[in-house]
Amino acid sequence: MTDATGRTATPVLSLRDLTVEIPTRHGVLRPVDAVSWDVEAGEILGVVGESGAGKSMTGNAVIGLLDPPARIAGGEVLLEGERIDNLPLQKMRRIRGKRIGMVFQDPLTSLNPLLTVGEQLTETITRHLDVSDDAARTRAVRGLDEVGIPAAKDRLGAYPHEFSGGMRQRVVIALALCAEPTLLIADEPTTALDVSVQAQITALLKRLCRERGMAAMLVTHDMGVIAETADRVAVMYAGRLAEIGPVAEIVGSPRHPYTDGLMASTPAASAGQARLRQIPGAMPRLTRMPDGCAFHPRCPRVQDKCRHDPGPVVGKADYRAACWFPIEAGEDAA
């Protein structure tokens, strides 16, 4: 099913009430709690939130790489309309690398130190695509070239440690994309890099998604990176989705008090002011989740309802916030 713009009408990725649980001595923890969203072809969904919010767990649940005892306890993951959360290990392994590419914070976790970059690329290409060794080599060179590795052909024989940190992350991106996946999951891909290299890598990801019509889930704690890279933004807090919508709305006029506080506490947002706006307290631990809305102990708009009942989901088709008292347009937040 294809519409006039050439997009498939089915989202590339759909999460339906995805829930991850970890059984522990202190009871069952829920690092991901009923999270739902879609990512369309050619679209970058930025997933943002403070550390421990459940961003990585969500990404790992999608690619079937949860570390036991963490497990998907409810909901569904659909890739191009087809359920993948209940697939046998063997089938999931074929999907990873082929239909879903992955990039993590530390490029060395994705690279084998004992194999040359060329060997790793051609191995991945021949495993997933039906091409000859020669064609795979040609593709490998093209892949490195596309991610901006200078003299790509001469670098096939180089080992990962012979590249700088930024170049290594480029190699990982080439590796993630060489089998032409429809979905890319990038978890803090630029967090370990310097700003100038970060700008290079985010520009690269943006260009590749656009050119290939690939869907991407970009996980990061950096609001600035999200603002410049994502088309839509999902804000997570204590395992739950706080707010989701187009980047201009989430960054420009957030409605969830948590998003608003997060944005206001970045030093960039209060240029020229003597004090930064701060959110009191810290995100609750999973072992001590408050009743009601998880943000209520820190929320400047809290009322009695919030303490007992998690907020309702308000919004329209492409915008949702989970809050009893969302900020209205033009209203002063705190």
Partner: protein, 331 residues
Amino acid sequence: MSPSDPLVAIRNLTRVFDVSKPWLNRVIERLPKRRLTAVSDVSFDIPERTTYALVGESGSGKSTIGKMIVGLLRPSKGNVEIEGVDLFAERDPSVIEGIRSDIQMIFQDPFASLNPRWRVRDIITEPVVARGGDTKGLAERLLEQVGLAAEDAGKYPHQFSGGQRQRICVARALASEPRLIVCDEPTSALDVSVQAQVLNLMSDLKDEHGLTYLFISHDLTVVRHMADTIGVLYLGCLVEEAAPEVLFTKPAHPYTAMLIDAAPRLDAFGREVVPPEGEIPDPIDPPPGCAFHPRCPLATDICRRERPPLAPFGAGRVACHHAGEIELKAA
């Protein structure tokens, strides 16, 4: 020291590390000695009760300068004068001890810098105990000043979150009533909402205690918020120094402009960033002349031959043969 003298004066500070392979390998493989210049001829002043920020990408020499100021590392050349005393030339141990007790340091990682087996009370009072001072009620008082509770003195570090641990580090730094605190990426490991709490706390304490900060960070937005003066480092060299508003609106050095353009901005959704070209060169074998010339859009012959000195420019200083010719792309 007259009242107008800076609290900290750094002159021609240089630090070279020997990064050669072990001696035996070198002999067998016939390798030459390898030296890395982490800090190269850096001079600046920090007036009392101000915040001087050092900003630069990783490996630019920020931490090495911080460590030389607090005395954890010896300079290879140049000197560090604090309260008018050259710490590495002074012979009188009691003078050195007196100055050392005026300097404290806060590090990036609040997890690694607190001894997990000590109670918070002992961690905080340690710098005072070491000097035989009076610590009665000290930890409790400091904990309240940094926004924690007096009862927290009896707890262990693992009972606190990252932001709370950094508050404990701040309390410990304050215990000996220092005049200068060197903060090396103090909030880089914290989430933004918690970072805001710690930065506000540091600003408040500075006013209350009349503190002077050397504030080291790779984060331009944090530095802009905190600093009275910013020094920009590239490959161990101080390339520009200016007040925040001047630096961010009219950077005079092409590297400063590149950094500002590359930093992600909240108000710029959908902005098409033209990312900077190239990467930081190998510090063991830096380019001749101006170290930035291979990546510089303004580079000419002289840049490839001669290292530009840090010279006055407007109200600040800049080390560039083409100072002021650059413009911000994003402005």
